[in-house]
């Protein structure tokens, strides 16, 4: 137990920070309740998936700059597939979009492996390509989403046996993140592939010499990142009901949350829980600023400054780690 808490000290610290922020929020706005918490998680949903995508890639020692554009592409694809279709059509649209995300992510990995161009350039180029692709798929915001999908991200759980007071604090959106992460991340981390991802992230050469298939692992890591990005894109369509071909502010937010979540930007160290808690911390800061009736544009500035500071701090830590 002690060993566990030591290993997870960063994540536990973040969780404490989240609770502290929550208490502060209650002070600022005493009426802040379950309903507000549900809308907070709904707003945090695309961010959570974006950061999950970025985390997997960063753990493998890479970086994906095309994440926001990939979310835009998958979001418009989902919106187009579900436009004016029956509710059942979403049953095939969702797996299709997820497979599409995997393919796009894997394409990043394949291009990096084949061209030997650094990940940062390849994903930057892919960012342009995917932005263009999103515009080609859907030139202006539109499309649609199945009603039952839209219902999945709003409101809270109602379990027959559980009292209303508790179940109201478990929003659907939060459940969605937890289920998705459990379905993808836990089997992955326990598998050989998961181990290989951490291995190539900490030292590509050492991993190669120990017989880890570096190229295949990297491609799969980007592919899994693509799956999370597709889920992020889907949640965008689910919560707005339409698809927008313009990438949102998810790239910088994902990098900042990865760093804040205790994942080393150099790769190989960290987990997925930390960054996701970090997303909620960053969202809650935004909520507090809004509750304090700070101008939304000023909020953007403060948020940007926090993210830049966090990234700078993370870089400093990475530099320390390298020099020791």
């Amino acid at each position: 137990m002690i060993a566990f808490s030591l290993r997870q000290s960063w994540v536990i610290g973040l969780f404490v920070l989240f609770v502290a922020l929550f208490v502060i929020t209650r002070f600022i706005q005493p009426s802040y309740g379950a309903r507000d918490f549900a809308s907070l998680t709904q707003a945090a949903l695309p961010y959570a998936f974006a950061v999950a995508a970025q985390t997997v890639v960063v753990l493998a020692g890479g970086i994906d700059l095309s994440i926001a554009a990939m979310m835009a592409v998958t979001s418009v694809t989902a919106a187009l597939l579900m436009k004016d279709q029956s509710a059942a059509s979403a049953l095939y649209a969702v797996p299709l979009v997820i497979a599409f995300g995997f393919a796009l992510g894997a394409l990043n990995g394949i291009l990096i492996t084949i061209s030997r161009v650094p990940d940062i350039v390849v994903t930057l180029a892919m960012m342009f390509v995917l932005q263009g692709l999103a515009l080609l798929i859907l030139p202006s915001p539109g499309g649609g989403a199945a009603d039952w999908l839209k219902a999945m991200v709003v409101g809270s759980l109602s379990v027959p046996g559980l009292p209303e007071g508790i179940s109201a604090w478990i929003p659907h959106a939060l459940l969605l993140v937890v289920i998705a992460v459990c379905l993808v991340w836990i089997p992955l981390k326990r598998s050989q592939l998961g181990l290989s991802i951490y291995a190539i992230g900490s030292s590509e050469l050492a991993a190669f010499r120990s017989g880890v298939p570096v190229a295949r692992t990297r491609i799969l890591a980007y592919g899994i990142g693509g799956i999370f990005a597709a889920l992020g894109g889907l949640t965008l369509t689910m919560s707005t009901g339409i698809g927008a071909p313009i990438p949102g502010p998810y790239l910088l937010a994902s990098v900042a949350a990865v760093v804040l979540g205790g994942v080393a930007l150099t790769g190989g160290r960290g987990g997925l829980v930390g960054p996701i808690v970090a997303v909620f911390v960053l969202r809650l800061v935004r909520t507090d600023l809004t509750l304090l009736s700070v101008d939304p544009n000023v909020t953007t500035i403060i948020e940007g400054v926090i993210m830049v500071t966090v990234v700078m701090f993370g870089a400093l830590l990475a530099m320390r780690a390298r020099s020791t």
Partner: protein, 328 residues
């Protein structure tokens, strides 16, 4: 390795061609530019005339200035994605403040945010060692937030674009764009500094091998700081010039030029890994992109396809240059 290759009597033709491209990228780039013009002339005969050439140059100059910002930072293995915000800020502040202050004060006011953002980038990249891409993306975001707030405060006072800026941006004298008056000295200065001064040597040295350059006495963070401030100033000048071309200050004035400026620099043969490249070829890269854009417009290609094509061009060119460098 290269000396052995030099003394061999008849190197393979493909190898010689590659060496030429690596050593003198300006020649294949000129060929590419002429080729593109020829295709354009074929597709719509009569399009190429003195007025078209002047117009192309006029639109290429702000892009070339931004490509200058990218060249400076890319030579040390970096990139500046905040140029769009910086240039837009300079143009917007100039247009809204010219009615209240004399021209010199206005100019100083519009260049101030550029210097500040450049300093922030330089500190983040040079001292904290944040990846330049992430750092400049972040400061760009903060900058555009500040611009939004600023816009709210001046929304009532209106804006105007001084006639001099319009003259400089769009005017032609004897068929030659006036903007060249500003651009030629700046370009000459950049090329001179990079090629002939100790500072320029340090820039290449840091990009080539940071550790070795540090051991031989150059101070990494000072060079980086100077480069990012210079990059921001170039972006601000590009913004001031571009608002003279477009004639309406908007909050996203320069954003559409950011990605093309990166592409122009990479096409110009500057390595994104640093240490290799020149500004003269980046200017050619900007011209090539302008002609390419005209070509795509003539072909009536949608915006999305154009963006995608830019991305593919960047990837392809970087991969090709990588092969060439590895070979030589």
């Amino acid at each position: 390795m290269s000396e052995i290759a030099d003394t061999s009597p008849q190197p393979h033709l493909g190898r010689r061609l590659r060496r030429l491209m690596a050593d003198q990228p300006i020649i294949p780039l000129m060929v590419l530019l002429i080729l593109l013009c020829a295709v354009l002339q074929l597709l719509s005969p009569g399009i190429i005339n003195p007025l078209w050439v002047a117009n192309t140059i006029k639109f290429a100059i702000p892009l070339a200035l931004l490509a200058g910002a990218q060249t400076l930072t890319m030579l040390t293995g970096g990139l500046d994605l905040s140029v769009g915000t910086v240039g837009t800020m300079a143009a917007f502040i100039m247009a809204t403040q010219i009615g209240h202050h004399d021209p010199a004060t206005t100019l100083a006011l519009s260049l101030l945010p550029a210097v500040l953002i450049g300093l922030a980038n330089g500190v983040g990249v040079g001292i904290f060692r944040v990846h330049p891409l992430i750092m400049t993306l972040g400061t760009g975001l903060v900058g555009s937030g500040i611009l939004q707030v600023y816009q709210r405060t001046v929304i009532a006072s209106g804006s105007e674009i001084p006639p001099f800026i319009v003259w400089l941006g769009t005017g032609l004298t004897y068929g030659v764009p006036n903007a060249l008056l500003l651009f030629v000295p700046i370009a000459a200065l950049i090329i001179f500094v990079l090629r002939r001064t100790g500072f320029g040597r340090q820039v290449y040295a840091i990009g080539d091998n940071e550790k070795a350059s540090r051991l031989s006495g150059s101070t990494y963070w000072q060079v980086i700081l100077a480069l990012y401030v210079a990059s921001s100033l170039l972006a601000a000048i590009a913004g001031l010039l571009y608002v003279g071309v477009i004639r309406t200050p908007s909050l996203t004035l320069l954003e559409p030029l950011v990605l093309p400026s990166v592409a122009a620099t990479i096409i110009g043969g500057t390595s994104i890994f640093g240490g290799r490249g020149s500004y003269a070829t980046a200017i050619l890269g900007a011209l090539i992109l302008r002609v390419l854009t005209t070509l795509l417009t003539v072909l009536q290609m949608p915006e999305g396809l154009r963006q995608g094509l830019f991305g593919l061009v960047i990837l392809l060119v970087t991969a090709i240059y990588l092969r060439i460098i590895e070979d030589s």
